[in-house]
C-alpha cells in the first residue's frame, strides 16, 4: 500500500526523530535542571529563549538555521575549520534543526519534573553522603521518570511532523533528507492523492497513538511524590 520511495522517507523520518530525541534528552537534561534550580537573574531570559520554537513559525527558525549552518554562516565556518562540509542540506543538519525546533517539548516537561521534586529529598540525600551528581542520578532522575517519558514522546512526535525547518535547511534529497511531511507535500503538488492519503493517515494515527500513550502513562496513579 505504501510506495517503496515513501518507505525510504519513513525510514529517514524515524531515524531523524529517534536521533533527535536522544540528543534532546542528553542536551535537555542539564538545561532543564539548570532552569529548575537556578535563581540567576537571567534564568527567565533563557527559559523564554527555550520556549521560542513554540510560537515562532518554523520557516523563521529554518531561515536562521540555514544562515547559521550555511557555508558563510558561523556554523559552516566552524565545520569548514574542522574539515567537514557545512551541515546545511545534510542529515546532520536536519538533526541540528530538529533539536532546536523540538527543544521546548523536551525541556519543559523535564524542567517541571525536576521542579516538582521536594528540595528536602535532595538535602536528605546530601546528609547521607551523596554528592551533587550522585543526588541527581539516585534521587532526581528516578523521581522524574514520568517527565522523561512525556518529554521523549513529545519530542519524538513533534519531530515526526516537522516540515518548515526541514524544507528550509534539509532540502528534499531522497534517502538522505527527504522526510514524510515533505514527501506528502510533493504528492499533493503532483496530484498523487492516493500516496498522500496513505502518508497523511499514517502520520495521523502514529501521532494519535503517541499522545494517547503519554496520556495513559500520566494517568496511571499519581506521580511518586510524597
Amino acid at each position: 500500500m505504501i510506495h517503496p520511495d515513501d518507505l525510504i522517507a519513513l525510514g529517514v523520518t524515524l531515524k531523524l526523530a529517534g536521533i533527535s530525541t536522544l540528543v534532546l534528552l542528553l542536551v535537555g537534561t542539564p538545561l532543564a535542571w539548570w532552569l529548575a534550580t537556578s535563581r540567576r537573574p537571567w534564568q527567565p531570559m533563557i527559559d523564554t529563549v527555550v520556549a521560542l520554537p513554540l510560537v515562532l513559525p518554523p520557516t523563521v527558525l529554518g531561515f536562521y538555521l540555514l544562515i547559521f549552518l550555511g557555508p558563510n554562516g558561523p556554523g559552516g565556518k566552524l565545520a569548514e575549520a574542522a574539515g567537514q562540509r557545512p551541515l546545511a542540506f545534510t542529515f546532520a543538519g536536519l538533526v541540528f534543526g530538529s533539536v532546536v525546533y523540538s527543544l521546548p517539548f523536551v525541556v519543559q516537561p523535564l524542567r517541571d519534573a525536576f521542579a516538582g521534586i521536594r528540595p528536602g529529598l535532595l538535602e536528605a540525600a546530601s546528609t547521607l553522603g551523596a554528592g551533587p551528581r550522585d543526588r541527581f542520578f539516585a534521587i532526581a532522575l528516578p523521581l522524574s521518570r514520568r517527565g522523561y517519558l512525556t518529554a521523549a514522546t513529545l519530542g519524538f512526535a513533534h519531530t515526526l511532523g516537522e516540515f518548515g525547518v526541514v524544507l528550509m535547511i534539509g532540502g528534499n534529497i531522497p534517502g538522505r533528507t527527504r522526510v514524510l511531511s515533505i514527501a506528502l507535500f510533493d504528492h499533493v503538488e503532483t496530484l498523487q492523492y492516493g500516496r498522500a492519503h496513505a502518508l497523511a493517515a499514517g502520520l495521523l494515527v502514529l501521532s494519535f497513538l503517541l499522545l494517547l500513550g503519554v496520556r495513559l502513562i500520566n494517568r496511571r496513579g499519581p506521580e511518586v511524590r510524597p
Binding site: R118, G120, L121, E123, A124, A125, S126, T127, L128, G129, A130, G131, D134, A138, I139, P142, L143, V224, R225, P226
Partner: protein, 359 residues
Amino acid sequence: MSLTVRCRFQRRGRGSFLLDADLTVPGTGVTTLWGPSGCGKTTLLRCIAGLEDQVDGRIQLAGKVWLDTDAGIDVPPHRRTLGCVFQDGLLFPHLDVRANLLFGRRRRNPPAGEEDVERAVRLLGLDGMLDRLPDTLSGGERQRVALGRALLARPDLLLLDEPLASVDAAAREDLYPFIAAVARREDIPILHVTHDRREAAALADHLVLMSGGRIAAAGPLDAMAADLDGPWAQGPDPVAVIDGRISDRDQAFHLNRLEFSGGCLWLPGPALAAGAKQRVLIAARDVSLSLDEPRVTSILNVLPAVVTGVRDRNESQVLVGLAAGDTSLLAVVTRRSAANLDLEPGRRLQAQVKSAALV
C-alpha cells in the same frame, strides 16, 4: 566528641532573620534545642548540617573542622559525617524501606557492617516492613526508618529536627523509647530540636533555650527545668524531671518501684526490668502539698520535701519549688493554700504526687 558551634547567618528578603549562636554540645547524650517557632532552632541545625549557604563562623566536631570562615573552610553537607532526621522523615518515595535504610551506608567509607544493619533493624522494630514503600507506612514507622537510615550512615553526630512533629500524639509516645534507646546505645552526641516541652522533657539530657536567633540559656535538663525563674517553669505547664532506676515490682497490684535520690515512687504499668534506668515526668499541677504525712489517702506516692522557693503565677496560683533529696519538684497550688500552709523557703512538708508519666 563534643561539638562547638559559633555561627552567624543572615537570611535576607521576605522573613529576614539573623541567627547568631554560640553553642557547645556535649559529646554524649541528647542536647535539646528548645524554643518557640521561628526562634532559629531549625536554621541553626541546618547551618550545622551545611544545608545553608553563606554561614559565617566556626563549626567543629571533635578534631574535624566543618566550617571556618577565617580559614576558608566550608565542608559540603555530603562530606560532613552526620545523620539527619527531618520533621516529616523525607524518606525517598521511590525506594523501599531496605533501600532507604542502606542509602547512606553505601556512601560512607568504611560502610556500616552487616551486624550494624541487623542491630538497627532490631532496635527500631523494622523487621516486618523492609520490602514496603514509604507511602504505605504510618507516620511513626516512617520516622523509625528515617532514624535507622541516619544511624546506618555511621554519623559522628545525629541531628533530629522536630522528629515527632508530624506524628500523632499516641505514636509520639511510642517513639520516645526508640529515640531514647538510640541515645543510650550509640556513642554519639545527639542534637535535637523541638518546640514541644513534653518532647524535650522526655528526651533531653541537656537543654539549650533559644529565642530570637540567640542562645538564651543552656544547662542540664533537671536544673533548667527546676529553675523557678527560667522560661521552663514560667511556661504554661511546668514539669519536673526525675531520673531513677526500677528497683522492685508489686506483682499483685501491677506497680513498679522507681528509686531516685529523693526517695521512691510506685508507678502503675506493665513490669519493667529491675535495674533499668527510667525517667518520669511529674507535672506541677499533679503535686499537692500537705504539712503532715497523710494517714489515709488514695495518693500512693508521698515524698518528704523542702520548699526552695515560691513564685506568683497569676492572681490565684503560685508555683512552688521543692527539693526531695537532690531531686527538684514543682507544684502549682492556690494562693490561699500557700497562705494556709505558710509556704516559704526552708519549710518542710509532704508532696503528694497524683500521677507521674513514664517516658
